[in-house]
């Protein structure tokens, strides 16, 4: 017999979800609402009927549904607000953490090198590899929409190179790095350089599992670039001002550029280099060497 309304039908089994936090039910106290009940007769016939009742804090009343689930009461479409609170890039973030753990285990420092297109990332990396001269073991993952041109330019400089072509995607993500890393023997690699797709916007949102982000900005790009693209500069460990051989031609005020970098990335160390003339490159190499000695 139905205990709720005494309608004389035997109810089927019930599941009473108790997952909701205590107090969820209390919210309903006193509120009157309708339920659709289904009963199954001894001969298997099903009956559905509606009845209404009120909740009060003292009377125990079982529900065949949890309040955390969607359930429509008769005659209404219930729109429920559900809290989610999940990072939108959770899939990427988890993969990035996996990459980070793997890199930690192999003792590899991963440097995510980002800049606008044409700031000189590839030239800077080529010079870096030349100067490291195999003394610090390195590997490179290069990202571009198309072509393996950058990887070609970096080959034969003493470090294995993997090119990732992203198709139409404007950034590298953790999955691409994971696939790239599979091609490399990171157990014998102290520094993994990741040359991201030339883009000052999108790569900022994607954690790759890197140890640090290095942003390159050439002297021809103007003093206010860090202010225009704060997300990418924010969180940079190093900002490399490149193409300093063009300094006088560019007319840029380095002090203003440094001030602007500091405003967005107060903790970043700024290095000035010309990969073409080699000026300042030794400072950068010394930094890499010190990182190589203290991987963590």
């Amino acid at each position: 017999m139905c205990e709720n309304c005494g309608c004389g039908h035997v109810e089927t089994f019930k599941v009473i979800p108790m997952q909701d936090a205590p107090g969820e039910n209390a919210r309903l106290a006193g509120a009157s609402h309708q339920h659709v009940h289904e009963h199954v007769d001894a001969d298997g016939r099903r009956y559905t009927h509606v009845h209404s009742h009120s909740h009060d804090a003292t009377a125990l009343h079982e529900h065949t549904h949890g309040h955390g689930e969607i359930h429509a009461h008769a005659g209404e479409e219930l729109i429920q607000t559900v809290p989610v609170h999940l990072p939108i890039l959770i899939k990427n973030d988890r993969l990035a953490e996996r990459n980070r753990g793997y890199l930690n285990a192999t003792g590899t420092i991963a440097i995510n090198l980002v800049s606008s297109p044409g700031s000189g990332k590839t030239m800077f990396l080529a010079k870096t590899l030349e100067l490291l001269n195999g003394k610090v073991s390195a590997a490179v993952i290069v990202g571009d929409l198309e072509t393996a041109n950058d990887a070609e330019r970096l080959r034969g400089k003493g470090a294995p190179v993997v090119q990732v072509t992203t198709g139409t995607v404007c950034h590298l993500d953790a999955e691409m790095i994971s696939s790239g890393m599979e091609q490399l023997d990171l157990n014998i690699c102290r520094i993994l350089f990741i040359e991201n797709v030339g883009n000052l916007v999108c790569p900022a949102s994607y954690d790759l599992g890197e140890s640090m982000r290095v942003v390159l900005i050439s002297v021809t790009e103007g003093e206010d670039k860090p202010l225009k693209y704060p997300p990418i500069f924010r969180g940079a460990r190093f900002v490399v001002i490149s193409k300093t051989d063009l300094l006088s031609a560019s007319g840029i005020d380095i002090a203003t550029l440094r001030r602007n970098i500091h405003a967005v990335a107060p903790e970043a160390t700024v290095v000035e280099v010309s990969a073409r003339t080699g000026e300042g490159m030794q400072v950068w190499i010394a930094i890499l060497n010190s990182l190589g000695e203290n991987p963590r």
Partner: protein, 113 residues
């Protein structure tokens, strides 16, 4: 730009959550966007409009909750919370440095049935 792929991730997350909750339709999606998230709400709207057809979110709306950042003036030391990137102190004209906050990119809540 990358808002398309971010919107794809958002919708995947939202639909997974809808199914877990036993619902069949998404009415609204609320997204928390930090100052430094690198995401433009207008571009997210555009991406959403082109992605939502034929999904349980086909009639849903997007809501954005913009999160401010804490800025500190290098000259007078004044702290202030601001909704947009600002580099000049409103008090003394000194250089403002962003101290904290801003990178949030979160699916905070949904209305479903």
């Amino acid at each position: 730009m990358h808002e398309i792929s971010i919107m794809q991730d958002t919708m995947q997350l939202a639909i997974e959550h809808l199914q877990k909750s036993g619902g069949s339709e998404i009415h609204s999606i609320r997204i928390r966007v930090g100052l430094l998230s690198g995401v433009v709400p207008e571009a997210m709207e555009f991406a959403f409009d082109s992605l939502k057809a034929g999904t349980p979110a086909a009639n849903a709306t997007l809501e954005f909750e913009k999160m401010p950042g804490l800025f500190c003036c290098q000259s007078c030391g004044k702290d202030e919370w601001l909704d947009c990137m600002e580099f000049q102190c409103s008090g003394c004209g000194g250089l403002l440095v962003l101290r904290e906050g801003g990178a949030d990119l979160e699916l905070t809540q949904m209305k479903i049935s």
